[in-house]
């Protein structure tokens, strides 16, 4: 006896919802360098700094995830016009796959301006998903 309705719950995150340690490590290191570069240890303010760093890391993680999801769900042309998105994707060094809605898409798309000097970011259509390389 098979159920007529197909199950709609998720048992695992899709690829672009996954936590990506390599991207987050870069993010953590950036936040710490920004916050602590000119600081000297002081036992009174250390607690406050650590709270600020953790809030900042949390906020940036949430933002990265939202941007990646946006890239997957909106039209690629629109997603790529945002400089912020390009910066976030460029932090993820290795090629990654972006799921996109099944709709006709151009075969390849260069992102302008390049996210980092001397680098380029391109999206290639693989039918229903995008291949992102930077």
């Amino acid at each position: 006896m098979a159920d007529a309705a197909e199950n709609t719950y998720n048992t695992r995150p899709s690829f672009h919802q996954k936590f990506k340690p390599s991207a987050v490590k870069v993010l953590i290191s950036t936040v710490m360098s920004e916050k602590l570069a000119d600081k000297t240890y002081s036992s009174e303010t250390a607690a406050q700094w650590s709270r600020e760093i953790s809030d900042e890391v949390k906020a940036r993680c949430a933002q990265t995830r939202r941007l990646l999801v946006d890239a997957a769900s909106v039209d690629a042309g629109l997603a790529c016009s945002g400089g912020e998105l390009a910066t976030v994707l460029a932090r993820i060094r290795r090629p990654m796959r972006l799921q996109a809605a099944a709709r006709p898409c151009p075969p390849a798309l260069e992102i302008a301006p390049p996210p980092l000097a001397g680098s380029s970011l391109s999206l290639t259509c693989l039918g229903t998903s995008w291949w992102c390389r930077c």
Binding site: F19, L27, M32, L36, Y41, W49, R51, C61
Partner: protein, 51 residues
Amino acid sequence: MVQVLIGEQRGEGIRYGGRCLWDPNTDSYAEDSYRNDSLFCVASAYGVYLY
């Protein structure tokens, strides 16, 4: 979940631990450390998927 430790840098070694319960199929963590002349900082972020 993010955990941050800041301490004074006096050239000694330290041991530091953090734990989190997670599902190896979906969750992960990232950490990095920073140090300058007067302080060190260790930050770890745990990504836990809720479903």
